[in-house]
């Protein structure tokens, strides 16, 4: 017992502890989470594939070859061909550009709106503006989101830009509530009081002092949101309300392969697998980030 305690003291005081910045500690905690690291690597690879699609796809998006339709997976066509003889793998590589960017753009929009609304509501917590903004967020969140989405998309012609816009504009309320609760507690901290006493304006307090302190939960929720935005886009495309030809996305490919499920299951199964892998990786990374940014919340 005594020896153990001594060793412990030795560890604590014996040698000067290495100076580490908070950022380094976060990175170290993140790297310890294997699932998150693997997820991050897979995602980086997928985004590289999307960026270099023109060099990687062996065939163009619409290279039809009717005699070769429904070729099962082979060396020439690793994921087989579809009903028009198009190479499934090549189309998936092209489609990754839509699927992967939708998530990013929609998330950026949701985070921008959600943080702004949540920040203002939380900073002025209890005033009429807080009540107004939160009521609006609540009203949007009691409308079934997916139903609202198909309504909006069927009203404004479906196109990838519109899809990104709609997903972004409808998915901010949850984030706004998270940011608001952060602001409600942060605005009472000493550092806020101190800057206020030094004459900082409200805008400066919100954006320079409080928002950076609320960054952790925002980053975590943003990461998880990219995954769910990708899922939403694929669901819309599956219903025919998403990405429209000549462009393609994984959800759309899956839906196009559905009538031929019996003859050529690979046309649907591989794009679905890609969605699954991307979303699960975003969830791994999001979970890893949460544990790394806030070790107290580790479950």
């Amino acid at each position: 017992m005594a020896v153990a305690a001594e060793q412990k003291t030795d560890k604590l005081y014996g040698q000067a502890p290495k100076e580490t910045t908070q950022f380094q500690q976060i990175v170290r905690r993140f790297l310890r989470n294997k699932a998150a690291v693997v997820g991050l690597i897979v995602l980086l690879l997928m985004y590289l594939v999307a960026i270099f699609a023109p060099y990687l796809a062996s065939e163009s998006l619409d290279a039809m070859n009717i005699p070769a339709r429904f070729t099962p997976p082979s060396l020439e066509h690793p994921f087989g061909t579809d009903n028009l003889g198009r190479d499934v793998l090549s189309r998936m590589i092209w489609g990754s550009r839509v699927s992967l960017s939708v998530g990013f753009v929609a998330m950026t929009m949701a985070v921008a709106i959600g943080s702004l609304v949540g920040a203002v509501a939380g900073f002025y917590g209890g005033t009429w503006i807080d009540i107004l903004l939160m009521r609006l967020a609540e009203a949007i969140s009691i409308i079934p989101v997916f139903f609202l989405l198909i309504t909006v998309v069927s009203v404004i012609r479906p196109s990838i830009f519109n899809i990104m816009l709609v997903i972004g504009v409808t998915s901010w309320p949850g984030l706004a509530q998270i940011v608001r609760s952060q602001f409600l507690s942060l605005r009472q901290r000493d550092f806020t009081e101190a800057s206020r006493a030094m004459g900082a304006s409200d805008a400066r307090l919100i954006f320079r002092h409080i928002l950076p302190n609320a960054a952790g939960p925002i980053i975590v929720s943003a990461t998880l949101r990219i995954g769910s935005a990708i899922l939403t886009e694929s669901s819309l495309s599956f219903l025919g309300l998403g990405t429209q030809p000549p462009l393609t996305s994984w959800g759309q490919m899956l839906s196009q392969g559905r009538p031929f499920l019996l003859q050529a299951p690979w046309v649907s199964i591989f794009p679905g697998l890609a969605i699954f892998i991307v979303v699960i990786c975003f969830n791994f990374v999001g979970d890893g980030l949460r544990d790394a940014l806030d070790p107290k919340m580790k479950r």
Binding site: P144, V145, F147, L262
Partner: protein, 327 residues
């Protein structure tokens, strides 16, 4: 408690009005109303005078605020208007689709809780065991797998290889009725059609509930009073199921309210894939056919459902945690 609930209910009214106003405005912004869809279906030539006539008859030429107030007034008297597409009262359209959805959803909800709660508890109690890893992995998979992909995998991998034993669409075999076949075969027939949709739905909603149950159980098991309970020699079963579970249920209850409403959205995809004649499909058709009255009724219904979910959460809180008092 009674006064608190009354206040909550009164607070919901402006929320519902705001939500329906938003939905109403979005829908009416659509270029081309229900008359275009209808007439295009009847014949290819669109006669402008007929369009005008229909729009006038349905009151679609009035300004949006006027139409909204008229709609709201009618709803308050219990009149949801007529469906332009089905040419029937909306209440009839919804009334005929609702039972199928309720039947599926209530069973799915029941199964979800029945499976998710024990799964979450066991994997928390045996943290880092093989079972825990399996459950956590399954939860991650369920959260990431698109429901339509799971459905397609099931249709391809299970239904198509079952020689027609597991049907992939519809709700019942035509002609199988109580009179000629008896209730047992009718029940078996219905159950057969529910296997795939139920699997997809339960797999999708199971995951978040399991993860919540697991993490809140883990947190509670670290508390001092649990150590006390163990120290005074209580059986582990009593500690887990009597002392810990009650507190661990609180966060789980708080997300249950949202589960109700997310099921309406989920119904759109599941019902479309499996041709289940329920609200999700009716809603999807209503949206694409610009059948405003039906869409609005469904929006309102699911908004009310969500709020009822939140209210039930409040009530359940008091029931589980006597420390909480509303006044």
């Amino acid at each position: 408690m009674g006064r608190y609930l009354l206040k909550r209910v009164l607070n919901m009214i402006p929320l519902l009005i705001l939500a329906t106003l938003l939905s109403f405005s979005i829908m009416q912004l659509a270029p081309g109303g229900p008359e275009k869809v209808l007439l295009a279906a009847e014949d290819a030539t669109l006669d402008p005078s007929r369009i005008e006539e229909l729009r006038e008859r349905w009151g679609l030429n009035d300004p949006i605020p006027v139409q909204y107030v008229r709609w709201l007034g009618n709803v308050l008297t219990g009149d949801f208007g007529r469906s332009y597409f089905y040419r029937k009262p909306v209440s009839e359209v919804i009334g005929s689709a609702l039972p199928a959805t309720l039947q599926l959803q209530s069973i799915a909800l029941f199964l979800t809780y029945l499976i998710a709660l024990p799964l979450g508890i066991i994997s928390a109690v045996r943290q880092y065991s093989k079972l825990d890893y399996a459950v956590t992995g399954l939860a991650f998979a369920g959260q990431a797998a698109p429901s339509f992909w799971v459905a397609i995998l099931l249709i391809w991998g299970v239904a198509m290889k079952s020689n027609g034993l597991i049907p992939t669409n519809g709700i019942a075999t035509p002609g199988v009725n109580f009179e000629t076949y008896g209730w047992l075969s009718v029940l078996a027939d219905r159950a057969k059609y529910m296997i795939l949709p139920l699997t997809v739905m339960v797999f999708g909603s199971l995951t978040s509930l399991t993860r919540y149950m697991r993490s809140s159980m883990l947190e509670v098991l670290k508390e001092d009073y649990i150590r006390t309970a163990r120290a005074k020699g209580l059986a582990e079963k009593v500690v887990v199921y009597k002392h810990a579970l009650r507190n661990a249920l609180l966060p789980v209850i708080s997300i249950s309210g949202g589960l109700l409403s997310s099921m309406v959205g989920g119904a759109v995809i599941t019902e479309t894939i499996f041709s289940w004649p329920g609200i999700g499909r009716v809603g999807f058709d209503a949206v694409t056919q610009r059948d405003y009255n039906v869409s609005m009724a469904i929006m309102l219904m699911s908004g009310v459902l969500t709020l009822i979910g939140f209210l039930l959460v409040d009530i359940a809180y008091v029931w589980v945690d006597p420390r909480i008092k509303y006044d």
